[in-house]
Symmetry: C2
Subunit: 713 residues, 2 copies
């Protein structure tokens, strides 16, 4: 019978089924489309995210962004071919976390979880198959297969809006990349489900996607403090000494990351403390917590033959090994139980605050091949596309079960992981590309840290440090370099200034993350999501030398080195070697973050900030909460004074979020939003006030002051 | 019913069938294995090559190179997983035409026809799925799908010869790439056929593969002369002037290539002469042939809306366009008829000698996407993998029908194209990588030219020129640069010396190509195929700086800049900027090509040849035929004097091939092999003789002399 079915199968595989797409509006402005027979396993099922239904249901109804009949699907030869329309003027952001480019129209992206290899080709740590259009909608294709997206590249013979053939011999307007009126996608499966998010604006589309995936993650307050990862073979005494030195020198520190050497063996891992370097882990954790410092532990999920769990987990692992370690099948409940029990006992249960989950991305030479098999039946390809998400999910659950929030690091992610408490990082180290990744992270529901490791010069060190404090995780990763914030004495004070600034901005970033959680608004995001920003890239003629550029490829210049850190701050990092840079301001008046002075309006300005400053700009009327520069995040219920700084001429307000900072009580309503308002009276005087805390709601605000940063005219 | 079958299909697709492989020995030392249900379309069927059965049947029986049970196949989830064993000491060459590395063990190659993008990752002009082992066998996987080969990278949990897990924290012997005992391949199809070639030696395996694919191509004699491609908008008068100038200056010239501007429109193409630039193509062709110069025409296969064939071919083209041109389905007989008729009329039939078929490789942005469809039912993927082969096949047939040989250029190829009369080239331009491609071409049944285009300096110009004359096609491609052999006056004489040397070596290269045709011996090949060559790569520790090299990746140093040009000449190119280089000589005595002096034996030597010379070495006892430096290849039946040069101390011989040089009469036995023998008599005197021509066989040998290059001791 099996043989018969196999034979029967050969027919339909080469035949095409161009069936109708079944569309359902599942939330206001969110449509689900189904073509063919979607697979049982996909990205959203891997993440097990639940839509934040109450938030979505409260949103305005928006129209489907184009005629539904313009979306086409065919199932051919065991694959699904999808097509979505594009108009001439549209820009496309995503799919995938890209590192060198923001605008993806004209790209072909083969989405594949991988270490970033230096080219925006779809192989990346988070190849989220979600793209956002400048026309105010987004599209998610929910498959855990390796998909290829042709983003306005392929030109059909019967294109409705076709480019004109030109003679290259004589026509200077000939182009190697003619205009295409569609996004096409190849899904290697007999069917797929996909979603269209109509948001009114690009930001609105992203917010709906994020809410659909459950809303953003809300870190514990300490997660927004400063973190130092120590050298890989540090022992307990060195770790304590490190915490002490931060305190003695007056540098903030909220958590320390231990690298591979906390384990008895690593690459592959035992997930057990090395008893020589760490004779009393519980004592160490207690001692550090007493100083206000938490621990984060590095792991990769590959199990060493010397691990105590090896024999038990063996039947629940894949056919292939990673560095000779066996690979837990994270879709096999037994594998998950065995692995996470191992992490719970003696780690989470003694107060370890989180994990850094390495090597769940790639690259191909290190991970299992696509011919590997897993006991759960998940294919090697699907496992590769979702392993980072699964690892986030199952370790995240450990903390949820313990009733406390975590905030960790991970190197692989995908669609659906929006609400999982992890920040992406990698081994790549281009500072400009790290910033472009931060820009792009906001398009696809992931968080990214441009971590600081080593630096060749004090200038580079400071420049990198200045930008990491305007990111989801303010981190030095000294696993190899051993560098400390003060390692370059000539800039140690400037580094301290920015470490302190990070702490002062804690209520701001915490509130911005709450907006991520409750409204889906990405806390770090591209200028293209900002109203009033001219986001079209410029296309310059490339080299006309046919030896160098035989196809006369044009060069795209786009804004990829400035971004929004929350809704108020426009950050324009400086890179080592730069003395000045241009910044493109959106429409409206913008002011200098440090001085409150007018900077410009909807224009390109050139700034020369000197080494001490990273350029930051604030929109007219913005109100930003600051606390004093604490060395550690405030604990639950700890009251802290707030200074609200107001910028510009216009009145404005800020919604300040508050909760206990560590538990999930906010999910049961134990949180508050308070409004800080600045108004301008008839005489032009500015005054500020903060709305009172509601009865029975968290209130950690101490004394409140207002400061008006922009000098009167 | 269709729906029912579709539903039934879902079951077997996710089930695994680990069926037995059916093996058949089809020729001595050639086995065919079948797993699952192979597809109807594959690489060998696309090429329509017929094994050179009589040659294969005459070969010695060799044993299967390992236990047949060590080859494993599983059909899982619509894909076939293959596994072949590797022993610790084995080296692997191929699969695919690689540009930067020779040894592929430890690589993952995603075989995909593409423009070479600067990394040996499987995307290349000829991703031939054939690899050769240093243990003397080869493996071909005959699928036109995008396959992934894990060449000794993936380590199975149950590996028979498994590496040991190590602790990276403390064990300096830890490696990021543990040893693997298998080649695994992912074939995205429900089954596949594959072949094992047992050759005794690596060269023997390659020869069997080449014979299995029909034997190598035998170019017309003129194809081994010199060729110049002129600027893209040249007109007929300029072409004639070019031919005249070569003659006046005394530089050899056998054919001129016309670039896009011969056509009325290009990119996409009309395949019609531009009547302004070329008012009388037949007259031009006649005029050039009269001067001993032939014409080769550039095309890409994409049809312009202005082409006269557009309307007729339209129904026989794919769904997507390339530069707004429609894409002939070269598996649709009507498309082939319409296209090749267009090339025949007014081109082949007026004496055009061949084509340069551009853009049949990629890259992805230019060609059809993988969601394209073709009337023949060939998938976009299969079409991409075979389009270059199909274009070679159908244009090659034009000449076969005309009864004359051609020798053209093409940018995409694959398995099975061994006997097709084309040489690969590309737009990439690294001189060292061009040489490595030449080295690797001999592993996979393709020919490659390191064409010379422009150069920044006279030194670079001469260095590139010196190596292209030791390649399958001695070519300057001046389509953009307009460069001539004499463009750098300071090296114009040295360039002429090497152009003349190319002509002098014509009987040598012609005989070496005849060995390719009749015995499958690649005329240009890696040292690894040479007996007595130590081919193991050295592995050096990479950087120990974890910031730069976090996984402590080692660096492989291998011999990839020297090669064999025929069986007698070891060529070691110099690259611009080099004043000296090392050359690794195989075991046995080797002599300098120019002086006949002893050079070394099985050792690494350092040479400082000066700018005038490319280092070339000759094995002891070699006998090499030279003719005078003609300006054009001898015509059919034209007798030419031959000087046989002997090198070294030992006696030796050379098998000289002869035929009419232009037709296929050799296939009916109209050819001869004659033996030039040098013997050393009792007194140590060397004497030479040439065996007489057989009655009724071709004989173009004029006066014969022998020259003993190595001075007496």
């Amino acid at each position: 019978m099996k043989k018969l079915i196999l034979l029967l199968c050969l027919l339909p595989l080469s035949a095409a089924a161009s069936g109708p797409i079944s569309w359902t509006e599942i939330f206001p402005g969110v449509w689900k489309g189904v073509a063919g027979e979607p697979e049982a396993y996909d990205l959203l099922r891997a993440a097990e995210c639940e839509p934040f239904a109450s938030a979505l249901e409260g949103l305005e109804r928006t129209p489907f962004p184009f005629a539904q009949t313009e979306v086409r699907a065919e199932v051919v030869d065991g694959k699904t071919y999808l097509r979505f329309p594009l108009r001439r003027e549209e820009q496309v952001y995503g799919p995938g976390l890209n590192f060198q480019t923001v605008h993806q129209r004209g790209k072909i992206l083969g989405l594949h979880v991988d270490h970033y290899g230096g080219r925006d080709n779809g192989r990346t740590h988070a190849p989220v198959p979600f793209y956002v259009s400048s026309a105010g909608y987004g599209v998610l294709v929910n498959s855990a297969r390796y998909m290829t997206f042709y983003v306005g590249t392929a030109v059909r013979r019967d294109a409705r809006d076709a480019p004109e053939a030109r003679d290259r011999n004589t026509d200077p307007a000939w182009t190697s990349r003619p205009y295409s009126d569609a996004v096409e996608a190849l899904v290697p499966a007999n069917g797929v489900e996909f979603y269209v998010f109509s948001g009114g604006t690009p930001l609105g589309a992203v917010e709906r996607y994020n809410l659909f995936c459950g809303g953003g993650t809300l870190p514990p307050r300490w997660g927004l403090g400063f973190t130092q990862r120590v050298e890989k073979l540090y022992d307990a005494a060195q770790v304590v000494a490190e915490a002490e030195e931060f305190e003695r020198r007056g540098y903030p520190l909220d958590f320390i990351g231990l690298e591979p050497g906390w384990q008895s063996r690593a690459y592959p891992c035992t997930f057990e403390w090395d008893s020589g370097r760490f004779p009393d882990p519980a004592g160490l954790t207690r001692q550090l917590l007493h100083r206000g410092v938490r621990l984060n532990l590095w792991v990769n999920p590959y199990v060493s033959p010397d691990a105590s769990i090896y024999d038990e987990i063996l039947p629940h692992t894949g056919t292939h090994t990673v560095w000779c370690g066996i690979v837990p099948d994270l879709n096999d409940p037994e594998a998950v139980r065995i692995w996470t029990d191992r992490l719970r006992q003696g780690q989470v249960d003694i107060g370890v605050s989180g994990y850094k989950i390495d090597e769940v991305d790639g690259y191909d030479h290190y991970l299992w091949p696509d011919v590997a098999r897993f006991p759960s039946g998940t294919s090697a390809e699907q496992m590769r596309q979702t392993y980072g998400v699964l690892a986030q999910k199952v370790t995240g659950r450990l903390y949820r079960q313990a009733g406390i929030r975590t905030f960790g690091l991970v190197r692989g992610s995908n669609a659906g992981a929006v609400s999982l408490p992890y920040v992406l990082y990698n081994d790549y180290y281009s500072h400009p590309d790290f910033i472009t990744a931060l820009v792009n992270s906001g398009f696809c529901g992931v968080l990214w840290t441009p971590e600081v490791r080593g630096s060749k010069t004090a200038e580079e060190w400071l420049r990198r440090f200045q930008s990491v404090v305007f990111s989801p995780m303010a981190m030095i990763n000294a696993w190899s370099s051993g560098t400390k914030p003060w390692s370059f004495p000539e800039v140690a004070e400037q580094v301290k200034y920015y470490a302190e600034l990070r702490m002062m901005l804690m209520p701001y970033f915490y509130s911005e993350f709450a907006r991520y959680r409750f409204h889906g608004t990405p806390p770090f995001r591209s200028m293209a999501l900002e109203p009033g920003f001219r986001s079209d890239p410029r296309t310059d003629t490339g080299s006309r030398d046919l030896e160098e550029n035989p196809y006369l490829e044009a060069v795209t210049r786009e804004i990829k080195d400035q971004y929004m850190a929350g809704g108020c701050l426009l950050v324009a990092p400086m890179f080592a070697g730069q003395e000045s840079r241009t910044v493109l301001l959106p429409a409206g008046d913008w002011y200098d973050f440090y001085t409150g002075l007018y900077a410009g309006n909807g224009e390109e300005i050139t700034v020369e900030p000197g080494l001490d400053r990273i350029p930051v700009f604030v929109r007219d009327g913005a109100v930003i909460p600051f606390i004093p520069p604490l060395l550690h995040a405030p604990g639950p219920g700890e009251k802290v004074d707030i200074e609200f700084r107001h910028y510009g001429r216009a009145g404005g307000s800020y919604l300040l979020y508050d909760d206990d900072g560590t538990t999930f009580a906010y999910e049961d309503g134990h949180y508050s939003w308070r409004t800080a308002t600045v108004t301008r009276d008839a005489r032009g005087e500015l005054t500020g006030s903060l709305s009172p805390a509601e009865d029975g709601k968290p209130d950690t605000v101490g004394q409140v002051t207002f400061r008006f940063m922009t000098p009167a005219e």
